[in-house]
């Protein structure tokens, strides 16, 4: 039987005989050894001339003995890494609906711009007179971020979202200390549904953490927050839109309650991409919010990073922003402030959180994205992201269960595993079966407040046709799960380069690097 895309719906219809091969390879799916198994000590893929004789100045520090690093010639290295790449799923491979991670199109124009020698090939400590364009780019990025958030200041240097959280919370801590309340205001409220980075960040910089419960509808109630407020409360860290994919309806009241209690409102901006051009955090009462440039402004995730996490700050936190920052003098000229001592009057930077100026390579990519979209395009992108998420919701909510049906989904839609009860199929099994259908699974088991969570974020980059096919596939899978086709799920993935991996074994007996086989074994 074929579904409306002309694809088979019954197990077995599309499965051809899977004949074993002599090599273990299967056409384009090839087993690739480690470089340590194919390279050797003398091999190299670079040509460097031996220097003319000279008098070493290493003294007694010269290295003795081997490093133990194999090399590969250029063609061997090329083939090794191309083959590895073929075992990876990326956003250019297909739909990548990881909720809260925001896998949107990575435009290659951004890559091209970031590689201009004037950006990629400039040193962070070369004379400032030789980098006016770099400073101008940072100022322009800051202007865009401040305009989009409605906030008066921005600290650019954080290297990732969690690093931005730390930066914002440090500014809050410094502001509290400046008011003489450093010893007493030391508790941070974090909703149960928050990213793990939030409590980890608060603890990292010496706050203790108190959890705020989530209401049955998936949001935070101002009444619950007020009940926890007191002179010991430093701040709340609230994600908005939250990790259940819902815009917090009482956010303005929560911010006001925090301010009234002499505390601050840190907003986790991981999901800012849902509201760019639609609502400004500054209008909601936010004191500090990090922006994941790699999510909202599409700088590529590259297998886990690099990210960039600039933090926008309210007027009362702006003076505490860390060094370095660009101070615009009265005559309009930019001055780079690199140490606390150089800060202009009125500024009390809380310190430095990284060497140099932050993720310039990401600034260029993000600004290229912003220029390309413009204010109209960014607003449209948010609307389309929200539209796509709700379209998926509409297409699946009769089959899969929604834990929080009372609010519209923002850019991501959250299902739970209630609908899988009694099928013997878990959320993880369902995710692995999606791999066999050619999709990267959605975010699973997060947020923690929902049992068996499945968080789907299509982003604005997906066409209606792509979404229709995705919905049809998930419907097919859901029907199979409910129809006792358990083997499809529990054995999945069947068609990935590798079958399901034993994660327990990896944790119980950690093998974190390649070890040279013992000589006896090698001889066998």
């Amino acid at each position: 039987m074929l579904n409306r895309q002309g694809r088979p719906t019954q197990a077995g219809e599309a499965v051809r005989e899977d004949r074993a091969t002599f090599t273990g390879n299967k056409a384009l799916q090839q087993i690739e050894p480690l470089i340590f198994e194919i390279g050797h000590d003398e091999a190299t893929g670079v040509d460097i001339d031996k220097p003319a004789p000279f008098r070493s100045r290493l003294g007694q520090h010269a290295r003795q003995g081997e490093i133990g690093l194999p090399g590969l010639s250029e063609p061997e290295a090329m083939r090794h890494y191309v083959r590895l790449s073929q075992k990876n799923y990326g956003i250019d491979t297909g739909l990548f609906p990881l909720g809260s991670c925001t896998m949107k199109h990575n435009a290659r124009l951004n890559e091209k711009m970031a590689r201009l020698p004037g950006f990629a090939d400039v040193h962070p400590l070369q004379p400032l007179s030789s980098v006016p364009g770099a400073l101008a780019l940072m100022l322009e990025l800051a202007r865009y971020l401040m305009t989009l958030t409605g906030m008066p200041a921005v600290a650019l240097s954080p290297k990732a979202g969690a690093h931005g959280e730390a930066c914002g919370m440090m500014a809050i801590k410094a502001a509290i200390a400046a008011k003489g309340e450093g010893a007493t205001r030391n508790v941070v409220l974090v909703p149960e549904s928050a990213h793990g980075t939030n409590p980890a960040t608060a603890a990292l910089i010496g706050f203790s953490v108190k959890a705020v419960p989530a209401r049955p509808d998936g949001t935070v109630a101002v009444a619950d927050v007020k009940a926890l407020l007191g002179p010991d409360i430093a701040a709340i860290m609230l994600t908005n839109p939250n990790t259940c994919g819902i815009f917090e309806p009482e956010i303005v009241e929560i911010a006001a309650a925090m301010h009234e209690a002499g505390a601050y409102f840190y907003c986790d901006g991981a999901n800012f991409n849902a509201i760019v051009g639609k609502a400004r955090p500054g209008d909601l009462g936010v004191d500090a919010m990090h922006i994941n440039l790699h999510k909202t402004f599409s700088t590529p995730h590259g297998g886990g990073g690099p990210g960039a996490g600039p933090v926008v700050l309210s007027q009362r936190l702006a003076p505490f922003a860390p060094v370095p920052f660009i101070h615009v003098e009265a005559d309009g000229s930019p001055r780079l402030v690199e140490t606390r001592e150089e800060a202009p009057a009125g500024n009390k930077p809380f310190g430095r959180i990284t060497a140099f100026h932050g993720q310039m390579g990401m600034y260029v990519r993000a600004l290229a994205y912003m220029l390309s979209h413009g204010s109209d395009g960014m607003r449209q992108a948010s609307e389309d992201a929200v539209l796509n998420a709700n379209y998926i919701r509409a297409g699946l909510s009769d089959l899969m269960s929604l834990p929080f049906p009372d609010h519209p989904s923002m850019h991501e839609v959250l299902f739970d595993d209630d609908w899988l009860k009694g099928t013997g199929v878990s959320t993880l099994d369902f995710a692995k079966a999606m791999i066999d259908e050619g999709y990267h699974p959605m975010t699973v088991y997060f947020p923690l407040v929902v049992h068996g969570a499945m968080l789907i974020e299509p982003t604005e980059s997906e066409s209606k046709a792509t979404l229709d096919l995705f919905i049809a596939t998930l419907r097919d899978l859901a029907m199979a799960a409910k129809g006792n086709d358990k083997e499809r799920f529990t054995g999945a993935p069947h068609h990935a380069p590798i079958r399901r991996l034993d994660e327990t074994r990896a944790a119980r007996q950690p093998v974190l690097k390649w070890e040279k086989p013992a000589p006896a074994e090698a001889a066998e």
Partner: protein, 446 residues
């Protein structure tokens, strides 16, 4: 808008399928009056050509390192990166993938992380390495926090040869968490008395080698004294190429090794993104920050790789995690590991030799300029020069002559009273002509 696939018709059809009249119905949780009615006051969408023009103009105002004789270092270094590296990291399946949460379709990423961990462990002479930090400086901050967890003490001693930015990162973290830091005075010659600072209250000693002034340091006696008092030695480097030529920290009994990996495979990028290298003795694995990739098998018995020991991490341990880190430097790791694979031991050793040779030649040449002296007894590819004038002005004057001649110490430490010192770095990219141009320009501006 070229990046948005939905058409107006699609949007109408989809709203109808959802059952709402207009898009703002989906934003109904935004409090009244806070929903923006029109696009914000920023320029409208631009075509590819126009974006290239705007950013190209900005980039064109900067002087690129490859365009001039270039000797700037102090934590970031201009090296040649093989064309293969940038080609491979732009492969879609690497560039546009995410953190490998679904290992069966992320074996490419996981395998190179495993190879990277092995390479970093070998280079540093350590037992285990993680899958990268943001950069060397934040890695140093994390190393200090890790040492505090291991020793259950909260006092770090920082060498005066530690890069001032790295020291500042440690100081910021410590100030926030009410931990103690003893930062020694700037140590120009590498002869500070750090041993007398080590006692039973100390959690860790942080020593950089080559240090920020270029001196190579003997770490072994520091490790010995630290261990005698139950403290850890954290060894730091900012120039990873040096490990091709000098005794690695692991062979000097360091407990944690942190460094900047930018030199291998990664561009200068005005300060980021870079890649932090982090290695330790294996007994400390469970206190390590960041991600770890481990080997395992699949259900058919084939070797495969997964992220592991995640019970240390923020998404499970929340406020008890070993760090708050979520993102790492995945793509920068890939660049590092490809370049290192191309080099191999033979290539890295040769590269290090050429770097050192070029630095020695440069030091000899500029030591011959009147009024200039080189202060280091030993160095790898960077050294400290004493000038008869404030170095900041000299660097500006050199730039006026088309030579980017190093980092004035006053830029890193304005209050140290070391205004006449200049940090100069040489690498394989410097030619005889570059060195001659530098020496000539220097003699002209002094």
């Amino acid at each position: 808008m070229r990046y948005l696939p939905l058409t107006e018709t699609d949007r109408e059809d989809m709203l109808a399928r959802i059952g709402v009249s207009d898009i703002d119905a989906l934003f109904s949780d935004v409090p009244a009056g806070k929903l923006l009615k029109a696009p914000l006051d920023l320029p409208r969408a631009k075509g590819e050509l126009e974006v290239e023009r705007i950013l190209g103009r900005m980039a064109g105002k900067n002087i690129a390192a490859s365009a001039v004789p270039f000797f700037v270092g102090a934590g970031a270094y201009k090296h040649h990166v093989p064309a293969t590296v940038d080609h491979l990291i732009q492969r879609s399946e690497f560039l546009t993938s995410y953190t490998p949460y679904q290992p069966e379709i992320a074996q490419g990423t996981l395998q190179y992380l495993f190879e990277f961990q092995t390479q970093v462990a070998a280079l540093t002479g350590m037992e285990v390495a993680n899958a990268s930090m943001y950069d060397g400086s934040t890695g140093t901050g994390e190393a200090v926090l890790m040492a505090h967890r291991v020793t259950r003490r909260r006092k770090a001693v920082l060498s005066g040869g530690l890069h001032p930015h790295y020291a500042a990162v440690v100081e910021t973290l410590s100030e926030m968490a009410n931990d103690e830091v003893v930062a020694l005075e700037a140590d120009v010659t590498g002869s500070e008395d750090i041993l007398s600072q080590i006692d039973d209250s100390v959690s860790c000693v942080v020593v950089q080698s080559p240090d920020v002034f270029g001196n190579l340091r003997d770490l072994k006696p520091i490790a010995e004294k630290a261990h005698a008092h139950g403290a850890l030695l954290i060894a730091v480097f900012t120039e990873v190429v040096s490990l091709g030529a000098v005794t690695p920290p692991g062979a000097q009994d360091a407990d944690i090794v942190v460094g900047e990996g930018q030199s291998i495979g990664n561009a200068l990028n005005f300060g980021g993104p870079y890649v932090g290298l982090f290695a330790a003795k294996s007994k400390y694995i469970r206190q390590m920050p960041g991600r770890l990739c481990g080997e395992t098998v699949d259900s058919a018995g084939q070797r495969g790789f997964v992220l592991t020991l995640s019970t240390r991490e923020q998404h499970i341990r929340r406020d008890k995690a070993t760090s708050n880190i979520c993102t790492n430097s995945g793509l920068c790791v890939l660049a590092f590991t490809i370049h290192m694979t191309l080099l191999g031991q033979a290539g890295l050793t040769r590269l290090a030799e050429v770097n050192h040779a070029n630095a020695v030649k440069l030091a000899d040449l500029i030591a011959g300029v009147k009024g200039v002296s080189v202060l280091n007894e030993s160095f790898f590819n960077e050294f400290t020069v004493k000038l008869p004038k404030p170095a900041a002005a000299v660097v500006e004057a050199l730039a006026g002559k088309g030579v980017l001649g190093g980092v004035p110490v006053s830029r890193l430490m304005p209050d140290a009273g070391l205004d006449d010192l200049l940090l100069v770095a040489a690498t394989e990219v410097n030619s005889d002509d570059d060195r001659a141009a530098f020496a000539k320009a220097l003699s002209e501006v002094l």
